[in-house]
Amino acid sequence: MSYAALTAAAEIAANTGADLLGVFVEEQDLLRSAGFGFSREVGASSGISHPFDPTGLEQRMQRLAHQVRRALASAVAPYGGRHTLSVVRGHVVDEVLALAEPQDLLVLGRVGWSFAPGARLGSTAKGLVRRSPGRVLLWCENRILPQGRVVVFLNDHKEANSRAVTAAAEMIRHSYRPVTLLLGAGSDIPSEDLQGIQRNLGIQESDLRVRSLASTDPVFVARLLSQEKAVQLILSRGCALLQAPGAEELLVALNLPVTVTP
């Protein structure tokens, strides 16, 4: 459980007037894995192996659900919004998608060993990014730079671009920040489109900057984002950057909150 993601979700819900729905999925594979006679659990920190049985797991799941409920309540408490917790059993991606609507925002934190630098994007995150009907925010706790910018990655898909710009506009409406538009290699943006984007974003011309990405090489992208002092990256799931090799590692290594729009 990522408390940081929970807090971020509560803040976003409060800013947008949305309800907060927490989803606690009792993973089916996990429940099953405890049912074998030979099952053992190897401690993540100590490496010590000890018996793993369904009864014990059930109890732990209940305790965890209880903890999640309390964490959800305390995260929402400062803002006073509505919140509910849905406890379901099954596959995480399927269960979440079953609950998610296109207008919903899915907020995912990074937990466990996927938190460490160099880790890969987990299967849950990958599944949701690929299949979510709405936006997915991969939350990452980072240092908020006062002069930081929101970076929006555009591609040649107009509708996808529009969704990304809308997401950026909603984000900066509550906390004003300058915006950088990142264009893929060789692409350009007509000035009237640019003006339209500026209008949609609702920012001054001086706060909008356009930069071209000569390469989708992860190191190059990381450096550029660092130069821009990016505080959040917004991109559509169809954009070239997500398709490039090493993109998953890049998203993890960026140490930035990333919003992926459909």
Binding site: D29, L30, R32, S33, V42, G43, G47, G118, A253
Partner: protein, 799 residues
């Protein structure tokens, strides 16, 4: 024996003729460069200040108020001005042993520069190092390093995960770790379904799971080692960054201070320390902790940047802390703490390479100060230790700063008694204070001295910023200086008394609206001082004039004489007559000193009475036995008697009691006497004579009275003007006597008489009467019946 002639007016006073003074006012005179008449002290100071050997510190002896401090400070300031300026000293943090701050010696003036350099460096460290950690280069390298290490950490897990996947086994993340379970079509097999697997299949799966679990265990257990490696590599990277950042500024400082190996070593230690604490500099928002940067400060203990010549320091409160320095503490949240910046130097530090002047009495009255001073002088180094630690009163963690070598010449100022007591009782004293500079109390009064003495007065007057003195005033002051010295051939050298009189004379001149101080103002100052101190004297005289205290100044009486005594009260003294009486009767050759019997007589007085007793026996008993039981008493004296100045008077009154010859009460007698009857000098003659003169005056006027005093005391006479006037008019006479016979003849009017070849005194002589009377006593003593009478304490007195 011929009788002495009475002294003339010129013999009782050594006036200062104004024609000897060749100026109008003291403004015409130049300042004295060297103190007048103190050649012995000056030579001692020159020697003591110049000699380099150990232990040649100085002790300047002299009475309080003699001007020791001023003279010593003036001399040393001149002497020190041509000497080299000593080094600066500072304490810096000791990076190896933090409780033992190091001491660094620098040339005069360099201390300030070094302190500023280190302060600038600390400031630069506070900004440059966080900037280096913020830099893209560092951040990039750090990220690369962390990613690389994380990859290595995770690679093992991924490999196991992949191996599991290849064997259709899922590696599942649990709330606390990992577990393995067989899977099919991407899902974990239902355990119920698994039960239907064949034993072979089960065995295969379970052995693989077991194998994977072992591998996973090994991989996880390697993670701490990897993390440690990461930490080490990050630290190495931090060190590299700091080294690069520090290279410039520290390199410059090393170059600048290359002539001082201690400073270079310190700079190297600073660099190592910064590198070691590189992580503490990473917080760019708050900067490095203040405590860390404070360690690179310099505590400049001795700053001689503005010192000219060698320092001359006067420590007016020479306690342990002020001499040897101290370690201060600050209170923080109820606890006391200290660091090397709270070390404070003492006067020994400031005087290092120069001179330290201390008042001996003050240093002796401060706890442990004298011991600390001696320890510093004998060890040649200053070790700062707090008094409470020396006493064992505090056990908080404190510092032990590196001792600083010291080369200081200490000049103690004190009175003679202190010097002699220290010499006697402190075995270290003469080893450490080998140079004795003894102040002259009095100066020679010769014709040549007038000009110098006048210039000394002029120098004093200018230092006091007072009106100039007229020539007549200087002459009067010179005469008074002789009176203060109680010697016609001496002048007092007592600085404070002269200054006080000058200041007071200046005041009276101001009151009178005069431009200059005249003789009358000076006389007024002397008279006013006398008057202010005269209350007890006047009460004493009043008792005499009213007859409460019985003193006869006319007529003749048997066994009664006027002795003269001096009373000292504070700074003033006065003389007054005392009636001395005697009794005599047959006995066993004893003279009872009633004062001693009553425990009112001091040892010197007792000695004088014993001498007198032996004089009587030797002169009048000859080869026979002295049969005498006599007593002597100072009538109406209740405060104790000390000294031998009444010996002559006591002899005369006792002889009068024996011989029953009356003594003239118009005379007062003073003088000490030896066993042969020779009269010896005594002190306080001026006060004694003036005291008797005043009593006579109040008893109906001075008409033929006088004083008998030792001939050797004539040079000490500096009598008041009214006494001199009476002498000139022959109303008051002073007889200088050299033998007790002269005193007898003057007091009785009879010839004293010398023994002839048969050992007998001439007929009708005073001594013959004494001798005959004693012979009668001897005869009476031999009667057996009489002995019983003597022993029972009865019998007749003075018979």
């Amino acid at each position: 024996m011929p009788l002495p002639a009475p002294l003339t007016e010129s013999q009782v006073y050594h006036g200062c003729p104004e024609e000897k003074l060749d100026f109008v006012t003291t403004d015409d005179l130049q300042d004295l460069e060297r103190p007048y008449g103190q050649d012995r002290v000056l030579r001692a100071l020159e020697f003591g200040a110049g000699i380099q050997a150990d232990g040649f510190n100085l002790f300047v002896l002299g009475p309080a108020g003699a001007g020791k401090h001023e003279l010593v400070e003036r001399f040393l300031s001149t002497h020190a001005s041509s000497q080299p300026v000593p080094s600066d000293w500072c304490h810096v943090y000791n990076f190896r042993f933090s409780d033992r701050p190091n001491a660094i010696k620098l040339a005069a003036g360099e201390g300030r520069q070094f302190k500023k350099d280190m302060s600038d460096l600390a400031e630069e460290l506070g900004t440059a190092i966080p900037a280096a950690f913020e830099s893209e280069e560092y951040q990039g390298r750090l990220q690369q390093l962390q990613e690389e290490m994380a990859k290595r950490q995770h690679q093992g897990l991924f490999d196991i995960q992949e191996e599991a996947a290849r064997n259709n086994i899922a590696m599942i993340t649990t709330p606390a770790g990992f577990t393995f379970a067989p899977k099919r079509n991407g899902e974990v097999i239902d355990p119920e379904e698994y039960k239907n697997f064949s034993d072979d299949e089960k065995e295969l799966i379970e052995s693989k799971v077991e194998d994977l679990q072992k591998k996973l265990q090994q991989t996880i257990q390697q993670i701490p080692r990897m993390r440690k490696e990461v930490r080490e590599r990050v630290h190495a990277l931090n060190e590299e960054m700091v080294q690069l950042t520090l290279g410039g500024p520290i390199g410059e400082l090393r170059e600048k201070w290359s002539h001082l190996p201690d400073v270079v070593d310190y700079l190297d230690a600073v660099r190592e320390d910064v590198v070691e604490h590189a992580e503490a500099f990473q917080d760019s928002d708050n900067g490095p902790p203040a405590g860390l940067l404070a360690r690179y400060k310099v505590n400049l203990l001795v700053d001689n940047a503005e010192t000219v010549g060698a320092p001359v320091i006067y420590e007016d409160l020479p306690n342990h802390q002020h001499l040897a320095g101290q370690i201060e503490h600050r209170a923080r949240q109820g606890t006391l703490y200290t660091d090397f910046t709270l070390i404070r130097g003492g006067s020994m530090h400031r005087a290092n390479g120069g001179y330290l002047i201390i008042d001996a009495r003050r240093v002796l009255t401060q706890p442990l100060a004298w011991e600390s001073l001696k320890r510093i002088l004998s060890s040649g180094e200053i070790r700062i230790e707090s008094l409470e630690r020396l006493y064992g009163l505090a056990s908080t963690v404190s510092l032990q700063p590196e001792p600083i070598p010291v080369s200081v010449k200490v000049v103690l100022l004190g009175d003679r008694m202190l010097y002699y007591l220290l010499s006697h009782y402190d075995p270290d004293f003469l080893d450490l204070f080998k140079v004795e500079a003894d102040f002259e109390d009095d100066l020679e009064r010769t014709d040549e001295c007038y000009e110098l003495y006048a210039r000394m007065i002029a120098t004093m007057a200018r230092a006091l910023k007072m009106r100039p003195l007229e020539r007549s005033a200087v002459a009067r002051l010179i005469e008074h200086a002789s009176r203060l010295a109680a010697d016609q051939r001496k002048l007092t050298a007592h600085d404070r008394v002269l200054r006080d009189i000058l200041s007071e004379a200046n005041h009276w001149a101001g009151q009178a609206g005069a431009e200059t101080v005249e003789a009358s103002h000076l006389q007024q100052a002397i008279d006013e001082r006398e008057y202010r101190a005269s209350r007890v004297r006047e009460r004493s005289r009043e008792q005499i004039s009213r007859g409460v205290v019985m003193i006869a100044t006319a007529g003749e009486e048997v066994a009664q004489v006027n002795g003269l005594s001096v009373l000292r009260l504070g700074a003033s003294m006065f003389g007054q007559p005392t009636r001395i009486t005697a009794t005599a009767r047959p006995g066993k050759g004893q003279v009872v000193d009633i004062e001693r019997e009553a425990k009112l007589g001091g040892p010197i007085h007792s000695k004088a009475v014993m001498i007198l007793s032996r004089f009587l026996a030797s002169r009048y008993a000859g080869d026979g036995e002295l049969s005498l039981s006599a007593s002597l008493a100072f009538e109406q004296s209740y405060g104790g008697v000390e000294g031998d100045s009444a010996s002559v008077a006591e002899t005369c009154v006792l002889l009068s009691a024996i011989s029953r010859v009356p003594l003239k009460q118009s005379f007062a007698v003073t003088g000490s006497m030896n066993q042969h009857g020779e009269v010896q000098a005594v002190g306080g003659v001026n006060e004694k004579i003036e005291g008797f003169f005043d009593v006579c005056q109040e008893a109906g006027g001075v008409r033929g009275q006088g004083v008998l005093l030792p001939a050797s005391n004539v040079e000490h006479l500096m009598l008041r003007a009214d006494v001199r006037q009476a002498i000139a008019e022959d109303r008051f006479r002073i007889y200088p006597v050299s033998n007790v016979n002269q005193a007898i003849e003057l007091l009785t009017g009879l010839e004293a008489g010398e023994t002839d070849s048969r050992g007998e005194f001439p007929e009708n002589s005073f001594n013959r009467r004494v001798s005959e009377r004693l012979a009668k006593f001897a005869k009476a003593s031999k009667k057996p019946d009489d002995n019983a009478g003597v022993n029972s304490g009865g019998g007749e007195d003075n018979d």
